[in-house]
Symmetry: D2
Subunit: 255 residues, 4 copies
């Protein structure tokens, strides 16, 4: 909207605040998505092959938590820098047509549409679990899956088994809704503290400052203050730079 | 009972089977205890300090899964070999009086009694979570805790806050019962497959063989067969030693 | 220099390219610093407490690789957002005066000056190893250390033991020079491929385009091309967005 | 020899001591083998696919350290219990003919012979590194490799490139000798402390006790004393069981 010149009021890009996306998107979604998958299925994670589609902050959180619980992870990503990061983080990289047949659990986190569409269903392994942790239920094409299946049966609350031609059973979690919210308790409360603090700080700024219409960044000083307050609640007080260190930082390093 | 000569019938030590304790005790309890703690509290794991009392198979599972989810772990252990293993596995080692004051979450897994007793309550940090994943509710002295508290209040289902003198709030999960069973769904179903296979194999052996009274080990060939069957269900077929390799293994390596 | 208006020619900020700092600074320095410390000392990493001063890309690489080898890590950092990231990454956070007395190995990676100065020497543990992986030999105040010691002895090539008052032995690696370069082979060759590709691409741009004086960013398309080429050498070809997915990304998500 | 009745003097199985194989074989070989591979090749580990043949204590050390440095790991193993452990530890499991073509680095650790023989050479990927960390140079069939190659060239000290028919280049490290010893400094000194302590304790026992001919186990109390002494040098003092806890442990849990 900003780019299209259609933002007639001041707004603050809360999700771009470091105190938000570094923690909420990665750790909040990572932990709660894995927790929800465990709760919904009562299956072990260790030894399973996870395919994570998308390696933004949410995707890397899911990959990291899956691996932390003992899974192997294959990442599907279109951006080469993010793909190389995933590889160096210890994950496999593959395109979706190579990754899907190996997946025991496939999680979409693209923030886009059609992360898993009808053209991929034939590739899936019998018994695969499908979950979405990305934008909304547009990431997995649920309507196409229902259409392609000759039967659908709820096996446990929130777990529907679609049987495809050839007998492949595909278990869709919470109908492709956000698995950590529709299938669990959502983000851990103490991680939401950070996100809500960012939102509160942004709201105060909007209320108190006479900002121009358009999209604004949360000022870095406020972003840092949110993180510092969080650390304070954990009893952590950081060192500060000495004046000499600050001076060194601010100069360009030529003497 | 075996040592005391009081086992008048044949029995098989199922828990000693590798296919049981390497997976059920470590991965089964590890995953499900951490999952239950998340469900009961809706708190994040990353960044928290876990104190795990006991580093047997259960304790190392809990330590490993807590760490995999981003926690730091301090292990309390009386056996020096297990303690050294924990240290080399990347955990802190401390005795309980040093570890308790730093713990955000304290989990007992000693298989014994009084892992956390009245003499330790004064050491605990305000807000600490207590959970038991060990033998049964004897590991945390719940009666003593209730006695020491001047108030007890259930904050969420399965989470009781005891307020001690001085105001320290101690949150006890599911009254010190096994946190993964009383507070969650228990072990993942696919890990129990292994344990139940061991029990079934042991039962068949007891029914079909004329075993002498006393305690027997599950034969290694059966133990391996359980693991091999499990791998087969995952589509994994292993190489076998060539005759030449087998011969080399069986000789003593002198030529 | 750019800010001070003293950059009279076009320059490209190569280190700001993602293909450079995400890999060279983190993985290149992380691996090679740990490798050099092992080579210089022939000591185990597992079970040791590393104190990493600074959690920029270099610091987080060192923390990650130390931990991957089994160490525990305490991070010292002045920026609250980076400190909170370190905590959620599973490391301890402390200020230097709390962290130094626990360190078995202390590595500076601040990019500034005086990461470890004379005011900290009295805090160090007997037997501590000191290494610098940050900017240059200004991070550890070597002259002050030599002045404070009543003896200095080279124990192994590149390892000097300074004995302080009270008998504390402090082992300084390669005189506080960059440990991975002065004490090892420097960055792995295949990671330098990325950095040199960025530099080559920047040089070509400077030679071929008529850039204005001042600091320029490496264009994202070139940055991505470097990563894509690297993936190609590993046999990895990524999916591309479909036209429909691209359209969805580019719209603002209101229908 | 014991089984064959050919051990005419008392001997102590030092390698079976916990204080030896849990640390020396796993951590000592794991760290030093990975360190040697880095030194010999100056290549990055992160993002590479390691194939580890054998998942005994040495193999699991190598797998763990490779992964800690960012590699992916495929384990080849003939024992189903060890294979299932490797899988639950987060590694891939495959037989050698499936694993070899994917390997960037292949390390043998079988303790047997012919871990990698002439029948596997055609499967190898161009550019693969071969290293042996197992028993001795019998694990990789070096003579067969030299015979199959139409050229051999030392590219760096300790790195010989064999070019096979079809042009596949295979880089053999230190001629298939133990990579951590022939190509590096061997085990870290502080891990050898444990092994040498076990050997010293065994030697004292043989000298002072009148043991019968044949193979003896190192008594558990001595094994524990070695570990306890090691912890003591690190300043770690463990809790001891209370008399009440000891009594509980020793009873059979029926009241």
């Amino acid at each position: 909207m900003q780019r299209a010149g259609r933002l007639p009021f001041p707004a603050i890009a809360g999700n771009d605040a470091w105190s938000k996306h570094l923690f909420d998107n990665r750790h909040g979604t990572g932990q709660s998505a894995l927790s929800a998958i465990q709760q919904l299925t009562n299956l072990g994670v260790a030894g399973r092959m996870f395919c994570v589609v998308g390696y933004g902050w949410v995707g890397r959180g899911i990959a990291q938590y899956a691996r932390g619980l003992g899974a192997r992870v294959t990442v599907v990503e279109v951006d080469p820098i993010a793909a190389l990061e995933a590889l160096m983080d210890g994950h496999d990289i593959a395109n979706l047509s190579d990754a899907a047949p190996r997946a025991d659990v496939l999680v979409t986190a693209t923030g886009g549409i059609n992360g898993l569409g009808s053209e991929h269903f034939a590739l899936l392994k019998d018994g695969v679990l499908l979950a979405n942790a990305g934008h909304d239920r547009r990431e997995i094409d649920v309507a196409a899956l229902a259409g392609a299946a000759h039967s659908a049966e709820e096996k446990r609350p929130g777990v529907v088994c679609y049987t495809l031609d050839g007998g492949t059973r595909v278990y869709l979690l919470v109908q492709g809704e956000l698995v950590n919210i529709a299938g669990g308790q959502g983000h851990p409360a103490d991680i939401l503290d950070l996100s809500f603090s960012v939102q509160l700080a942004a709201a105060r700024l909007l209320a108190s400052e006479n900002l121009t219409p358009g999209l604004h960044k949360l000022p870095e000083s406020i972003d840092r203050q949110v993180a510092r307050t969080k650390l304070g609640t954990l009893g952590i007080v950081l060192d500060e730079l000495t004046p000499e260190q600050t001076r060194f930082r601010e100069q360009w390093a030529v003497e």
